[in-house]
Symmetry: none
Subunit: 252 residues, 2 copies
């Protein structure tokens, strides 16, 4: 039975699609102001509440930005829009970025520590190879490949720690975060100082592991990520400190 699948898309979604299409087809150009809300309401013949939920969705998708008392303005659409909602979330929220780095400090520091104690000869050969791969591609203005090489090096170290759960965890965290690493490298690809420093840190980390100095290896891994955190160029928006009461949001 072919029920003709009526698409009663609700008012809000209709507004979103409408404005979206106007943005993409060039009716609105980046930087241009939308009509004031009270005027848009008349044009679209919808309530202001519905319009505002639609504008909120557009803002969430990075298509517009809003300033109280100012207006709604069209953003540059080429913005980095991650398909993974989780990545999108982390990327939008500078707090989460720092938190993720803290997590990596814990995990990768631990991996470096045990790798220094347990790495076999074969492990060391692999680590050395990954280090050389990374150094070959570093500073070559290909952040995507460099991010992958970076990942491979850290995975090799994780493997050398001979702790399977730890390795799995690091691998999964990394596959999710590789886009963020790529972003970091892109921001700093023209900064010779940062590039050199990162490579020095990698070398020192590997050296400490080869020497079996677990404490030092862990410290280097920790400091390395602190450096990454501090060299985030930060197009970061408001570091909106979180607030208070909002609790018990979920059912049962």
């Amino acid at each position: 039975m072919s029920i003709s699948r009526i698409h009663t898309l609700n008012v809000t979604d209709a507004i979103v699609k409408k404005i979206e299409s106007m943005i993409v087809d060039g009716t609105y150009i980046p930087g241009q102001a939308l009509l004031p809300e009270r005027q848009l309401v008349k044009e679209l013949k919808v309530s202001r509440a519905s319009l505002r939920t639609a504008l909120s969705a557009l803002k969430a998708n990075g298509l517009i930005r809003s300033r109280q008392g100012g207006g709604h303005y069209v953003c540059d659409v080429a913005k980095n829009t991650f398909t993974d909602p989780l990545l999108n979330l982390i990327n939008r929220n500078i707090d989460f970025k720092f938190q993720v780095i803290e997590l990596r400090q814990s995990l990768e520091g631990t991996a470096a520590f045990y790798a220094a104690q347990r790495a076999t000869e074969q492990d060391k050969i692999t680590i050395q190879a990954r280090l050389e791969d990374l150094q070959k591609i570093a500073g070559k203005n290909s952040p995507k490949e460099e991010a992958e090489a970076d990942l491979e090096l850290h995975l090799a170290i994780a493997n050398a720690a001979h702790n399977t759960p730890l390795t799995l965890l690091i691998r999964n965290v990394y596959t999710v975060l590789i886009k963020l690493i790529e972003e970091h490298l892109s921001q700093n690809q023209h900064d010779e100082t940062i590039n050199n420093q990162l490579q020095i840190q990698h070398s020192e980390l590997v050296e400490a592991i080869f020497l079996g100095d677990g404490v030092r290896a862990r410290q280097i891994a920790y400091d390395h990520l602190s450096y990454v955190r501090d060299s985030f160029g930060d197009s970061c928006f408001t570091d909106n400190q979180n607030s208070e009461p909002l609790e018990n949001l979920f059912d049962q």
Copy 2:
């Protein structure tokens, strides 16, 4: 001109951020329903309009889905993207239990460290309550309940660390490890010495956190798990690998 850094985060963004972090850190159960809008409004003390613009943003980012007349439901965004393979592994092969303890030393040590630095008064109240719950049930020959109480205490500490991804990991790891903890408690439930020692360690851990001594809190968490490992009665090869003190791990 003092910059004075405007911290006026608007109501809508506060709601979004609050719900986002709860979704990411796993406070929700995937597919779980949010409270109805009218109830949420009372909980959060905001207007329905503000709430709905926030929900609209969350929907746009793929974090929730909504059905008219039905409710708002959390999507499986972070559904164990980090931990799924790990959980399968641990479930399948309990032989990793010692490696898992190493992993826990890293994660829970980190959580204790940051909890000592960041715990709010409310966090401390919660931690204290969970500690008392655990002490009430400890040694009562009910390993299942005790394991759950143990989990709740460590989750409260993880929450106090205010690192959402870390909380997510610990929560997910724990939900699988609870059987392991239960096993440990069952084996030793008649051993007064071990029981007392575990409770003393818990008290010391909480005390260090309350005093804001992050380094000591981390060390206690680390030693606590070393003790758990060593008091596992059974077979497994003695992982004599260092149980070295963690002293001066990090500068910070």
